[in-house]
Amino acid sequence: MDFVHQLVQQLINGVSLGSIYALIALGYTMIYGIIKLINFAHGDVYMVGAYIGFAAVTIGNLPILPALLISMALTACLGMLVERIAYKPLRHAPRISLLITAIGVSFFLEYTSMYFVTPTPRTFPEVMPNISFNLGGFIINGQQLLILSITIILMAVLTYIVQKTKLGKAMRAASFDTETAQLMGVDSDKVISMTFCIGSALAAAAGVLVGVYYNTIDPLMGIMPGLKAFVAAVLGGIGILPGAVVGGIVLGVVEALVAGFLSSTFRDAAAFAILILVLLIKPSGLFGKNTNEKV
């Protein structure tokens, strides 16, 4: 296999991995955009989504699409519940309290799930045919294409919601200044609740798709993708929707290239080096505008 061939195959690998990061990063970035919370529990919401999808497929005997929708709906409720119970009482507390609570929620979800579903990984039944396309020696998988297209569709829908609808306008207003928005008649609590609803539904979609694509789920599956999605969100500019998608895909490609041409040992180091570099050089991310912090 020559160099160009290998490079193209690694780009394919990278984009497919990156589209998963992107899907998780979308929810991360939305929640940050509204309440400035790094929701560390997001990766675990993604895990719960995967398990709900798994239950719908194995116990409910549903095909993949209804299972995906059920998982998105139930996980959306979970997201709202978490917000109501854990984050809402801290609305006016210092931001660090919120952050620590998010870590607490993360552990709570991980180990409560572990108690109920046992730590043994589960394998998804084959819910869709896994077709590999061989295009002139490059191997692309049908499921990779599916994940990438779902990511792009969901990003488009989200952008529409945020830019064109009344809810989106309220979200942008609340994101700009929660209290003033409230004075103007925006029900901030409702907007924040909806943000968690949508963000968690996206995470659930990612969880189910990952379960189908990689074939296993376990209660701690959300930790690493959660961190990587955080890097992706920061890279793209946290709070910016297209930024999350581009950040996710760039991160996936960088990981694939590092693993393919340097050494697979450096792969995660490279991912987190990106985080450090972005924070040092352009903290607002690829798509962010540099603004001075208001004091």
Binding site: M1, Q6, Q9, Q10, N13, G14, S16, L17, Y111, M114, T118, P119, T120, P121, T123, E126, N130, S132, N134, I139, N141, V210, Y214, N215, T216, D218, L220, M221, I223, M224, P225, E255, A256, L257, V258, A259, G260, F261, S263, S264, T265, R267, D268
Partner: protein, 398 residues
């Protein structure tokens, strides 16, 4: 600071224990020996289970714990040992070395256990061996395959045992298998860089394989819990080696094999006892596992392991994996040591050391007193169309 405090606490507890026992022995006659007098709670013998029930290796710990519980349940259902029931007190090693020590300390000082089974993972067994040795409580690590578990500075640790073979044996068997049976000339190592188990197996495989005339042409690494291996596998594909050696655990192995075959890698993939779980077939898919081989502790088709497999299925409604089998074996070994008159740590230790031709779940074992490793065979298993078959069986040495 942390440790010294803990040690101090432990020491003071033991001191109190000795004082108390001195008071009681004053009028009660002879009972209990120096250091660790055990709660002779009438008709119960208390043993400790110290497995990783939570944390990132909980799946191994929980399975081993199930195996242990089954072994103890069997003996209790059969009337117990010499009229006494065996009671398991469970502690959670939480997949961390420091927590494994805490759990062992708690079992020894609060629960007064006579022996401890677990934890599952090498590092955690090594961590607890000091506190167990200090208190003269024997430990059996069911699945701790690293040589350092039972040996320190060339000396065998008197109270630490295992119920499995050791890593160098696995790597030797697989390196030889690759060179002789598969006629492989080149190999790629694909290791889990977050696990000592994987790294030490890879190192010894390389030595042995190159000694047999082969060459390791590439070494790549991944991390436990990774989902996507395609980037490294695309690179491995360029090496075009005869075999790929992946000494890792089944969850990652399943995904690696699946993704390797998706990319069109057809080379033989070899592994070790971490592969031994029927879930590998679910994860990787039947076709992907063709031309893969791994070595492990027992073959599920062997006549002598059927009793265990059926009992386990009856109890837990699922197939046992290798951790469950070794947890069960460790339980059987301990029961045997207690049956032969061991009711305190010292006696049990002596009896474990002299286990001979004991029928456990995975076969017959004899304890090697010089190394505290059981003398056991190794099997190499081939998977074809989702069905496992015995490829070769290497008889125990000596």
């Amino acid at each position: 600071m942390f440790f010294s405090k803990k040690k101090f606490k432990l020491a003071s507890m033991i001191a109190c224990g000795i004082l108390a026992s001195a008071l009681f022995t004053g009028c009660g006659g002879e009972q209990g020996s120096s250091g660790g007098e055990k709660k002779a709670a009438g008709d119960e013998i208390v043993i400790g289970s110290n497995f990783e029930l939570t944390g990132n290796v909980a799946q191994y710990g929980a399975n081993a714990n199930n195996g242990l519980k089954l072994a103890i349940k069997e003996i209790n259902d059969a009337g117990g040992v010499n009229g006494k029931k065996i009671k398991i007190v469970e502690a959670d090693a939480k997949s961390e070395a420091a927590e494994a020590v805490n759990a062992a300390t708690k079992l020894i000082s609060d629960e007064k256990v006579v022996a401890i089974i677990g934890p599952a993972v090498t590092a955690n067994v090594i961590a607890e061996s000091q506190v167990a040795t200090d208190n003269m409580v024997p430990v059996i690590g069911p699945a701790a395959t690293n040589p350092d578990v039972t040996v320190e500075n060339g000396q065998v640790k008197p109270y630490i045992f295992r119920a499995c073979f050791i890593d160098p044996q696995q790597s030797e068997v697989m390196a030889q298998f690759a060179a002789k049976d598969l006629n492989a000339k080149t190999a790629v190592l694909y290791l889990d860089s977050s696990s000592d188990y994987s790294k030490s197996l890879g190192k010894i495989f390389k030595e042995k394989f190159e000694a047999d005339g082969g060459k390791v042409v590439m070494e790549e690494a991944f991390l436990a819990k990774d989902q996507d291996f395609k980037a490294a596998l695309t690179k491995i594909q360029t090496a075009n080696a005869d075999v790929i050696f992946v000494p890792a655990y089944y969850e990652e192995v399943g995904k690696i094999v699946k993704q390797a075959r998706e990319l069109g890698i057809t080379a033989a993939i070899l592994g070790t006892d971490g592969w031994d779980d029927s879930k590998v077939i679910d994860i990787a898919g039947k076709d992907a596992l063709n031309n893969t081989y791994f070595c492990t502790h027992y073959f599920e088709g062997d006549a002598e392991v059927q009793n265990f497999i059926n009992a386990y299925k009856g109890e837990y409604k699922t197939d046992p994996n290798v951790f469950a089998a070794l947890g069960y074996d460790a339980g059987k070994m301990l029961v045997n040591a207690i049956e032969r008159g061991g009711e305190d740590g010292q006696k049990i230790r002596d009896n474990i050391e002299t286990i001979k031709d004991l029928q456990v779940g995975t076969g017959k074992i004899t304890m090697d007193a010089a190394t505290h490793n059981p003398i056991k065979g190794i099997v190499v298993i081939e998977t074809k169309d989702g069905v496992r078959s015995l490829r070769t069986k290497i008889a125990p040495e000596g």
